[in-house]
């Protein structure tokens, strides 16, 4: 099976999210993914990179975010690795619960889970968090 792999190494600053998204859009374009699916996958990608920059590496520019995208005709896998201290995804409150609807943050992981088929997090032996998201076509 033909699998295209794209790797990005990003500085931990907000501007890097747009730079990474521009590179990722090209991957989605080459994969020929339809516009509706591409919107959700692109959003999940942005949210994962944003989380790594903002919450994982806390915008510490001495730390890097490493992204790997594997794309095949049948599936797409996005891996985003930061150098932060990790977090418990189960502890993230449901942003659609009545008490959270008017909060100004906390919807990124919700979008990742909503638009991808699988999302899982792991703490890496060398430190940092790896989030892996898969979309099947």
């Amino acid at each position: 099976m033909n699998v295209e792999t794209t790797e990005l190494t990003l500085p931990s600053r907000i501007e890097a999210v747009n730079e990474a998204a521009a590179a990722f859009a090209k991957v989605l374009g080459r994969a020929g993914i339809d516009e509706d699916a591409a919107f959700g996958i692109d959003l999940a990608f942005r949210e994962a990179v944003t989380n790594a920059v903002l919450h994982g590496n806390k915008q510490d520019e001495s730390k890097l975010v490493r992204v790997t995208v594997k794309s095949s005709p049948d599936w797409l896998e996005i891996s985003v690795r930061d150098q932060g201290t990790g977090f418990d995804p189960a502890a993230i409150p449901d942003p659609t619960a009545a008490e959270n609807i008017m909060k100004t943050a906390g919807r990124g992981i919700f979008f990742m889970r909503n638009f991808m088929d699988e999302v899982d997090w792991s703490i890496q032996p060398e430190g940092g968090t790896l989030v892996r998201m898969t979309k099947r076509f």
Partner: protein
Amino acid sequence: MAELNIRERQAGDVTVLDMDGKITIGEGSVALRTAVRRLLEEGRKKILLNLAGVGYIDSSGIGELVSSYTAIDKGEGQLKLLNLTEKLRDLLAITKLLTVFDVYEGETEALNSFK
């Protein structure tokens, strides 16, 4: 080219912000926040966001919409949304924010809804 272009016009006592581009973390979200906060400082409390040209928003942008709504509401003003694109409407629906915001598809109807 800016990530988000905001054009301002006045319709009676309602300020309409015609927005074109992306409301995403960084420049887009900041542009929205700056525009709304400036209007509030100027005492303009009836604000209609025309989102016809906004085809993309992320969680930060949605957070900024919520923050703007709350700030205007606290100032006893009103923030309403006009011309949501399909994608933006979908995101507001799944986050249950569609029921929070006052949303319109026609500008005349939206303008007439301000008290």
